[in-house]
Symmetry: C2
Subunit: 142 residues, 2 copies
DNA sequence: ATTTAGTTTAGAATTATTATAAATTAACAA
DNA sequence: TTGTTAATTTATAATAATTCTAAACTAAAT
């Protein structure tokens, strides 16, 4: 639940000019109570259907990637034909409902800490992510 | 290290005709000591460069998807612009080296069992996969 | 006000993947 | 064998997500 002026400084502080388009995208993504997951297409549709502004698809891609690079979004890869973004930038894991194609955040109390006993020599761990795929009982198993 | 005749029965047993193309792909994928990870492009290149047979890209896609559906391959999604396949069909986790773009299998002794305390109501867990991204110490963290 | 560099945009290009539909081939029965 | 049938392969077109390009626009600095 941030105000417009807060987005302006947030953008300025990260070296991004607070343009009309970026502020609108900030509002859509960050001016709400709960974090959520979306695809570029979801976002483009949301903006064109629910607001008067027209933001070109190229700008949406540019902005989302800029926000990701600045750490304001995380990218979640579930399938190779679609990329999800997450406004929850804390470390967390996901359930993926194969029936509805929805991503659901795991709380820390739902999945215990992942115990990595041996890392690759000379490398540093940059992230650890668990994906739990779920489906109705009557579905095929993986 | 399977023989050609074994691939013939394996294919027949799963309702797939043992065509010349499928047998060649079996040989390339399964006639070796260790499991490995590959992309469709890797495989197409491998076949066209190291063998005389020309298999059309459409057939490679068809075959890999058929093998995946029959459970002879697993698909691993790391990034949205490329899909990896895995000849190791046992339950296991992965390291992904962001410097080299290589996938590395985790042994059971490297990552402890993931403890899922609460599943989504009414759903069945179809898979649990951990992806540990690693990079050189001098790289950016996630 | 002028300049400059950053940003937006429409549209083209790229790339992975899937669809189409005709030619080929494996399986099967006569 | 031989003919029939359905599965498979293939070249090619289509699709769809994403990136690129280059011109127009705009925020920031002078
Ligand atoms: Mn794709
Ligand atoms: Mn893609
Ligand atoms: Zn999330
Ligand atoms: Zn593997």
């Amino acid at each position: 639940m941030l105000k417009n002026s807060e987005f302006v400084s947030k953008l300025r502080n990260s070296g991004l000019r607070p343009t009309k388009q970026r502020l609108k995208i900030c509002e859509v993504l960050f001016n709400r109570d709960k974090t959520f997951h979306f695809t570029i297409n979801d976002l483009a549709k949301n903006i064109s259907e629910n607001f008067n502004e027209k933001i070109s698809l190229a700008t949406i891609y540019n902005t989302i990637h800029a926000f990701k690079d600045k750490g304001y979004l995380k990218e979640i890869t579930i399938s190779s034909d679609k990329s999800y973004f997450d406004t929850n930038i804390t470390k967390h894991h996901h359930f993926y409902d194969e029936d509805t194609n929805l991503l659901i955040d795991c709380n820390d109390n739902e999945i215990g800490k992942v115990n990595i006993k041996n890392n690759i020599t000379g490398k540093k761990i940059s992230s650890v992510e668990v994906l739990v795929r779920v489906a109705s009982d009557t579905q095929n198993q993986n």
